[in-house]
Amino acid sequence: MNPLELYRVVRLIRRFEERAIELVRSGEIVGGIHPYIGQEAIAAGVCGALRTDDIITSTHRGHGHVLAKGADPVRMMAELAGRVTGLNKGRGGSMHAADFGLGIFGANGIVGAGGAIAAGAAWARRYQGGDQVAVSFFGDGAVSQGVLLEAFNLAGLWNVPVIFVCENNGYATTMPVEGGVAGTILGRGEAFGMPSVQVDGMDPAVVYEAAAEAVARARAGEGPSLIECMTYRFDAHHTFEHKARLNYRSEEELATGRSRDPLDIAGARLSTEDREAADAAIEELLAEAVRFACASPKPDPADAMDHLYATGLRARTGASA
């Protein structure tokens, strides 16, 4: 995979998140976000190994996945700001962006919920005669959810072309992995008969290699895989943490965790000119994204009752008629 392309995606996600945090602070994005900063190499590497018609399911910390899979950053920013021009007309927001044309079968605010969805979608594509694969991203916290393990079982049992990508950033909110996971994450994949590997999640090229291998296996009909990407969340669990210091990670730990930065790792492989040119283009794109998001109209409350049902029924007002 072209190092410039990997860098571009890492940089785009990093700067997108930083700009989004600014909009959280200024009140344009209400409800906050779960920043993906520090974990960008995973989305870049995995999605780099996918085709547009491949499928992903994402998480509460999903901006990176959605952008890396090709979503328009401009409409994504508008989505976060709750505007009608957003990917989902402002109704999905940070945790529920989707773009079905790009195989983005939804970020998901329910931890662990994406695994079975990805498996089902992948099964369906194969049944329809396609060679597409699906990727389910999830965190280390999600491996404690029953439904994710049920998805592992179904995928293993039915040889489903799905790749389970665990982003092990060391914590589920404030719960350290050691406190939340008995045994190992890899062991969970192995228990269901899946090839399972642990990789450096800070280097997009390394992630890409592992993903490409798993994708090739899945496309060839050889079934599901688990990739555990070791990473570190540089920023808050959620932006609420910017106001409430939670003190579950020491300053030393933060410094060590941040010392290997995917941006530096990917950037070191480029010439200064290439890097500067990529950076400048991204700045311009994101300036436009922020401008567009803030200038876009807010949803009309009058359409609140639309779209709940496809046919026959309209949402009720709840009150006495």
Partner: protein
């Protein structure tokens, strides 16, 4: 003393931990962090990790674990982080927590408290604002409690923890930071007793939990329109206090049910049905409902349209067929 609802709940947990060593508090991020709303702040520090501890991210497992602990003599107090994150635990709650006593013909009680920060009004997003009370209220075997005042938050939670039956304790998250002049410990009326929060003569507003302050504000605003509005706070949805509700409606002759939850097939529908069944001859107008729309909770910028506010309550009061009967006469 000025006390917040968050402090009242924290103090109730503390006092319960102190008074009864069978009480154990656990859930996601309740230990180190003290809960995402800081409701369990300091409990691990002060009572140790055996009494207040973090769990993995596994609601179904947490709930099943609590059942086993309760069977073996503990009094688990479980926090489910937000309303919608209780849903992975529904199999355990609906199929086991609610049914074990009946299934064993009383041989086994499950003194479990399931604390759920619930409902909206804080600019939260989908999965973080659900009014989920109807799911629980519809399930026989569960007691369902939702405080609207600081004193009730303390007193009802203490009672919930002491109760031999499973109690779903729904904490209106928008009221966590509401303040009352209360000193703790506070003792208020027991489960199954509704309270008249404001007296009036023309119409009864029936509500509970997060909707009580809305009803009170509407009652205040209605003074200008010449209506004297009574506000009843259920406090506990199950058990349900028909007597207090009936007395109020029989006095005023009109009733509006105010809930933040979606209206269709909700707790508000049950409330309206009971009033109609029991107070029919006292009613001068049909019982009307003001409720959240029957849609998934909208994004933060739209939530104020969704939530029933003072205006929607006043508009509904205005529809109570005042022209048919002289205003303020009641009908009984």
């Amino acid at each position: 003393m000025s006390t917040t609802m968050a402090q009242a709940i924290n103090t109730a947990l503390r006092d319960a931990l102190k008074d009864d060593d069978r009480v154990v508090v656990f859930g996601e991020d309740v230990g180190t962090l003290g809960g995402v709303f800081r409701i369990t702040d300091g409990l691990t520090r002060d009572f140790g990790e055996d009494r207040c501890f973090d769990t993995p991210l596994a609601e179904s497992g947490i709930m099943g674990f609590a059942i086993g602990m309760a069977m073996a003599g503990f009094r688990p107090v479980v926090e489910l982080q937000f309303d919608a994150f209780a849903y992975p635990a529904f199999e355990q709650i609906l199929s086991h927590v609610a049914k074990l006593r009946n299934r064993t013909r009383g041989a086994l009680s499950l003194p479990i408290v399931i604390r759920v920060p619930f409902a909206g009004g804080i600019g939260g997003v989908e999965h973080h604002c659900d009014s989920s009370e109807a799911y629980y209220a519809h399930t026989p075997g569960l007691k369902v409690v939702t405080p609207a005042t600081v004193a009730d938050a303390y007193s009802l939670l203490r009672e919930a923890i002491n109760d031999p039956d499973p109690v779903v304790f729904l904490e209106p998250k928008k009221l966590y930071w509401s303040k009352d002049e209360v000193s703790l410990p506070a003792q208020t009326a027991p489960f199954g007793k509704a309270e008249v929060r404001r007296e009036g003569t023309d119409v009864t507003l029936l509500s509970y939990g997060p909707s009580v302050p809305v009803a009170l504000a509407a009652a205040e605003a209605a003074v200008e329109d010449g209506w004297s509005v009574e506000v009843v706070d259920l406090r506990t949805i199950n058990p349900y206090d028909d007597a207090t509700v009936d007395a109020s409606v029989r006095k005023t002759g009109r009733c509006v049910v105010v809930t933040e939850a979606s209206g269709f097939a909700g707790v508000g529908a049950e409330m309206a049905a009971r009033v109609q069944e029991r107070c029919f001859h006292s009613l001068a107008a049909p019982v009307l409902r003001v409720a959240g729309y029957d849609i998934p909770y909208p994004p933060p910028k739209l939530e104020h349209h969704h939530l029933p506010g003072v205006d929607r309550v006043l508009d509904t009061i205005a529809r109570l067929q005042w022209d048919d009967v002289p205003m303020g006469s009641g009908a009984s």
